[in-house]
């Protein structure tokens, strides 16, 4: 059994909501146990530079205080806040949702369409995908995860995805873990006909890979 510490960057402490990402991961990787923790005093999460800046020390403290004995740590946010600092300061492998999704998207296509709810592109997407990004990264008419939940939320997502496909995207990548909890990746794949890389899926694959690495090597020696 591998133990993963998962950080939610929105201040939610109601068990079921807090554990949403962790439960998805545990359901798909039966050798993983996830402990989720959320940062304090940010009920609206991270949505701009300022809210990212104040979140970073909270993420670092949370990880250092609680997750130093885990097999891997996941920062479950497409913006990968505190990813580099935690990697420098901790020995545990640290996985970012955004970086993981950007890396995995390269297996499925070259021209990438981004499906998110903020005007800014997550930094890992810029760094890893750069000029291969087509179109706008945000869904028109959607300003928050609450908008996504409305009756026409999915139609707006699909309209955005269709536009990205018309612009030449051959793979789609989510840029918001809210889209993971909505579980719409299979709907988008079916309706649009392009593969979708979901952030919680991507962080799970990469974190599992990080967990098994040592055993994989040692297994082979013995």
């Amino acid at each position: 059994m591998y133990n993963i510490g998962l950080i939610r960057v929105v201040s939610i402490f109601e068990e079921e909501f807090l554990n949403t990402h962790g439960k998805i991961i545990e359901k798909n990787f039966t050798d993983i146990k996830v402990e989720s923790l959320a940062i304090e005093d940010q009920p609206e999460g991270i949505h701009d530079d300022e809210t990212e800046k104040i979140a970073i020390p909270k993420i670092v403290n949370l990880a250092k205080k609680n997750f130093s004995n885990k097999d891997a740590i996941i920062i479950s946010c497409a913006g990968d806040p505190a990813l580099e600092i935690l990697r420098e300061e901790m020995d545990v492998p640290v996985i970012g949702a955004g970086e993981s999704a950007a890396l995995l998207s390269k297996i499925y296509g070259e021209k990438v369409g981004i499906v998110g709810i903020t005007k800014n592109l997550p930094k890992s997407y810029i760094k890893i995908l750069g000029s291969n990004i087509v179109g706008k990264p945000f869904i028109k008419g959607i300003d928050s995860t609450l908008d996504l939940m409305k009756e026409d939320g999915i139609d707006k997502v699909l309209l955005h995805c269709r536009e990205l496909k018309e612009l030449g995207a051959d793979v789609l990548i989510f840029a918001c873990t809210g889209l993971s909890t909505m579980k719409i990746a299979p709907i988008v794949e079916k309706e649009i006909g392009l593969k979708v890389v979901d952030c919680v899926y991507a962080e799970a694959v990469m974190a599992h890979g990080a967990c098994i690495r040592k055993d994989f090597y040692n297994e082979n020696v013995n």
Copy 2:
């Protein structure tokens, strides 16, 4: 159970040797069954542009003829021969050892040292890692996997890795699956103190991720 078709780019048909990579993957992923096939008439494998060129149509034919019903196909060679063609021409996800290793290395470091036996850098390493590659990609005094097996083989590998670390590498990446079958990743990690991304490990993580993708999304819907 997921079914993976694995292509060896060296003409080996003796069962144990043919299945070496597949067995490593099956041992670490108990939900994967690997069928390995090797290309014909290339007992020395792929070692330059000419031998890659003649191998490509053989790889394409092998995959199309035998692996169209698999959950994923692995081209088990750091050079990723025929990767792009197979992705264009087949519906099955296609995983390359080199691309997988290059992508996974980004989780463990930025400045990458390459540990291989050929003068040329695999194309995915150039494309994905570019100017972050430090030092030479080949081990001095090693011209083939046979040289690796000699008494001083491991010492030469470690000397190369130490030089890469001195040049600033913060992660090491193998560029030859022969190093995987030698099972020296844990020795290098222990002696050098840097994380190593092994090609068979990397292709296994990425192929498993490709296999579970649809179930991961659908599981969440149900």
